[in-house]
Amino acid sequence: MSGVVAGVDIGSTTAKCVILGEGSRVLGKSLNPVGVDIVKDAEHALEAAVQDAHLSRSDVAFVTGTGYGRYKVYFGQLVVTEISCHARGANFLFPGTRLVVDIGGQDTKAIRINERGEVVDFAMNDKCAAGTGRFLDVCANALGCDVGEIGPLSLQARHAVKVTSTCTVFAESEVTSYVSRGKDPKDILAGLHASIASRTLSLMQRVGVEPEITFTGGVSQNEGMVHALGRRLGVPVNVSPLSQYLGALGAALHGWERLPGGAA
């Protein structure tokens, strides 16, 4: 199978891999937490995705690395930033996309793209984890919730509180303060989601808000966040079960173009 490519996305918290076959069909994928040995995590991500595709390692003709750990994908032939990869991945899944919002573990990015999925402009959060997945992890922990349940819980809120802190550490203190005042955790969670949506909207406005908007990254799997963002924007955002894999998918698509006979 010479027409098989892989994209390996090593993010700050998870490693993702997508295997693409003929016709840009997704044959397999994997998602694992990132530890201290990034090289091993990258290898493990590829092995797991190859297994998921019922293939062997030697079937993969080309590997592209992306994400913060992209330079640790030593077995790859190409390195592309996740900004270009999310752009390409979003364009592939939702061709009408003009703005990509990627909220990952430690980064939030707003990426303006053209009709070919090329980056026109981008903006990223400052050197601070406020408004990212880590922010939600910390606050979920302060509320004694599992991070997987905070989105649905936030949707049951009746009177969302106002979270004003922009710092992850101070927001945690603010959450604790609301808990001690007897506020319903659902209302606190809704406030936290709304706070991230506001910060994200400000980032999006720096590059220009233009539909369609596609939401990617790990936080895009949080339905509370999808709701908060759509509400703040006034238009629904595109999401897909593959949203968390869009960096890896975009990387694989970049690799596909490098194959002899690959789509340009």
Binding site: Y68, L78, V119, D121, D126
Partner: protein, 434 residues
């Protein structure tokens, strides 16, 4: 090793073989300057502290002062990885996180005894605050005056909103310059010597001519100079030694070397893939790493605004021995940071055209709102009004805690990837690539 977005890991290839006469001489001048400051005894020459932008060095030099620029001491500390200790010490004295890194480096260093790896910085006999464009500097100099008990002369420079300075502004500054002369006569017991000042200004003018010849070499394609990183090395004589024959002679050596590069086709990179305009103060604490981010993508800065903080000589200004005080006044008014944003934008737009820049990179610094505030709008204006792809990144010039290599590299890689994509599409479409 995998490829990076269409570029090999080191597209710049091996470092070019420059003559390095200029760089060696620059290092020698820096070493001698700090050595002379430390060895300033028997007879001891008086020491004046002054700020770089719009400074009055020629007048101080005509009185025989050694001129110390704490900003330059601070950036020397930063590039030698010594600034953080000074900054932390200043913070322990109560200076907050948001205070300018230059200020904290200087106050921390002085409180620790003034010792650096490149020499001991002497105490000031007078403080001359020529604060073109930065009002934090007023408080800095007041703190120094209180700390040392040294007399302080405050030189008030109006902010520039028009390209040509107004006569009343020049008259206002000339009046203050005569006050400064009187102040220095009182402190030194010496009479002011106008002929000596004119001789100093002749040397300043000669250095300014040489500096401008060097900067304008960036107009050539490919550029024989690195107009941001390399210029920063060569700023020292024009900023610190201006008015001395050594500074003027230095630029003769530099320009001889640049002419040799053009003749031998020896360029900063073997392939000049992107011609950049760079705006903003560099992250001195990670100078080499930051430069490598450019080199990796075959990007050469052909023009930059930061090397002009000591004076916009390339825009035509020269110190004039025939109009000594008036030209010094015009110089102080014309400091880059003292210009309003419409004036700064015009300079930048002219640079993009004159130097045929493909793209712009703005480096904002947390420390300095005077330089940085408005750079976000500048980015938008360059992209939307001028059609110049522009990247804005932020760290600090003095405080290494603000430099996040992975984040900065990620932004720069993505920016250059997008420039490569645009170029490929333009070529495929039969258009002239940017």
């Amino acid at each position: 090793m995998p490829e990076t977005g269409g570029s090999s890991e080191t597209p710049g290839g091996a470092a070019p073989t420059f003559l390095h006469d200029a760089r060696s001489l620059q290092r020698k001048l820096v070493e001698e300057y700090y050595r002379d400051l430390e060895a300033n005894e028997r007879p001891r020459r008086p020491v004046a502290y002054m700020l770089v932008g719009g400074n009055l060095a020629e007048i101080l030099r005509s009185f025989g002062f050694e001129v110390v620029f704490p900003e330059i001491v601070a950036l020397n500390c930063a590039i030698k990885h010594q600034s953080l200790d000074n900054i932390l010490h200043a913070e322990s004295l109560g200076y907050g996180l948001d205070v300018c890194g230059y200020v904290k480096n200087d106050l921390g260093l002085q409180d620790l005894g003034g010792k650096t790896s490149f020499g001991r910085i002497p105490r000031p006999d007078v403080l001359v605050c020529s604060f073109s464009g930065c009002y934090v500097y007023v408080k800095w100099w007041e703190a120094l005056a209180e700390s040392y008990g040294a007399p302080l002369f405050m030189f008030d420079v109006p902010y520039m909103r028009e390209e040509v300075p107004r006569k009343e502004d020049i008259d206002y500054l000339v009046g203050q310059l005569w006050e400064l002369v009187h102040f220095l006569e009182q402190r030194t017991g010496q009479a002011f010597d106008m002929d000596l000042l004119k001789r100093v200004l002749i040397e300043s003018r000669r250095a300014e001519d040489g500096w401008v010849e060097f900067l304008r070499a960036g107009r050539l394609r490919p550029s024989p100079i690195e107009a941001y990183f390399e210029s920063i090395f060569y700023m020292f004589p024009i900023n610190v030694l201006r008015g001395t024959p050594e500074a003027a002679d230095f630029y003769d050596v530099v320009n001889t070397e640049i002419r040799a590069r053009v003749r031998d086709q020896t360029y900063p990179l073997p392939e000049e893939k992107f011609r950049l305009l760079v705006e903003g103060v560099p992250p001195y604490t990670n100078y080499r790493a930051f430069w490598d981010f450019f080199r990796k993508w075959g990007a050469v800065s052909v023009v930059a605004t930061y090397p002009k903080v000591g004076g916009l000589f390339d825009r035509g200004f020269r110190h004039d021995p025939a109009r000594p005080f008036e030209s010094i006044a015009e110089y102080s008014l014309g400091a880059y940071v003292n210009q309003s944003w419409p004036l700064r934008r015009k300079i930048i737009a002219d640079y993009v055209k004159e130097y045929q820049a493909d793209a712009a990179l703005i480096h904002g610094i947390k420390s300095c709102r005077s330089f940085t505030a408005g750079q976000g709008d500048l980015r938008d204006w360059l992209i939307h009004d001028q059609g110049v792809p522009t990247l804005y990144i932020e760290s600090d010039h003095e405080d290494p805690r603000y430099f996040a290599p992975a984040q900065i590299k990620n932004r720069m890689d993505a920016f250059f990837e997008s420039l490569e994509q645009r170029r490929a599409v333009a070529i495929a479409g039969g258009r002239t690539p940017a």
